[in-house]
Symmetry: C2
Subunit: 195 residues, 2 copies
């Protein structure tokens, strides 16, 4: 009997090891040698699955983005008009979401000089903005927002608040605790009539 290798599973394993490396030691630590050492496999295997370290770095970004999408979907399935839940799904309120932001901030730096990656960042940010707009419009239709709220402006403020709070919390976690992040978010939601 030949031994079958589950290539997708192997790719996922290498990606997960790479993600942990990026979170702990940054994009610069992502070398074939480091990944192979962390995975306990040969460099040849790493190179077999990923053409170069940019491709592997992108896979770690995509993995973080997928986790984030799953959290968002879970909120939307529970209650599509849960504005606070939609924001909290992408705030660094626990280890998983904090790790994701470390990957995203590393990705931003690379995206500054890659038009393809900048386009991805743009799409993701636009997706967030549209998701927030959709939710606010739904709330507005039910008369749950203050009557003078401009939905588009409010979505813009919330969409900007997310990376802003994330930057504060990543670099100053003692000051920007989950409780403080939630407090600032709640204050913004209160202004538009949500509590």
């Amino acid at each position: 009997m030949p031994r079958f290798v589950d290539h997708d599973a192997r790719r996922r394993d290498v990606t997960e090891i790479a993600r942990q490396l990026v979170v702990a030691r940054g994009r610069a630590a992502l070398t074939v040698r480091n990944v192979a050492a962390a995975a306990g496999c040969s460099s040849t295997i790493v190179s077999h699955y990923f053409g170069d370290m940019d491709e592997l770095f992108h896979a770690t970004y995509a993995a973080a983005a997928r986790r984030s999408s799953q959290r968002i979907r879970a909120v939307e399935q529970r209650d599509p008009l849960d504005m606070r839940g939609l924001v909290e799904a992408v705030l660094p309120l626990d280890a998983e979401r904090t790790d994701d932001w470390r990957v995203w901030f590393a990705f931003w730096s690379e995206a500054l000089t890659s038009s393809a990656w900048a386009a991805e960042q743009r799409e993701r940010a636009l997706g967030t903005l549209r998701r927030f707009e959709r939710c606010l419009r739904g709330l507005n239709d039910e008369g749950r927002l203050r009557p003078d709220v401009d939905v588009r402006d409010a979505a813009g403020r919330l969409a900007a608040l997310v990376p802003g709070l994330a930057a504060e919390a990543i670099f100053d976690p003692d000051r920007w605790t989950p409780a403080r992040q939630r407090r600032v978010l709640r204050s913004e939601l209160t202004l538009i009539g949500l509590t």
Copy 2:
């Protein structure tokens, strides 16, 4: 007569060339060879002024931070209670401020794995937060804010709005024009009673 070299001026020149390199091509482009080529001087001169490229990269960050401080001081000297002006001084509303944000996002990525640089980022962000709080408290003392405004929460929202809007504008300048950035900022200021 011996020829005197103005070492400070030379250091500034090399820093400015490095800053342009980082803005255009990212942190990875900052090599002794690239800087020397752009400066039209020998690698020895670059190495004479900067021990390594991390030191030079930090100098480009410090230069961007200095420009930003000058813009802020200009606003404060004109009117220390100009909340909108204080925020706009650090939004990517023109080429200079956009360039600064490119340097800062590149710096963030490096700061993820450098405790010294993370501490600098933390201090700068805290400085922004305190500056906003001070301004809002002054406005509040003059009765110019809505009476129910919590100054600390409002400062937190504005401090988070800045990097959030910057991230949108850096990666999606067509959508996040200066007019749109100002519109979202104005909507936030209107909510607390400022116009």
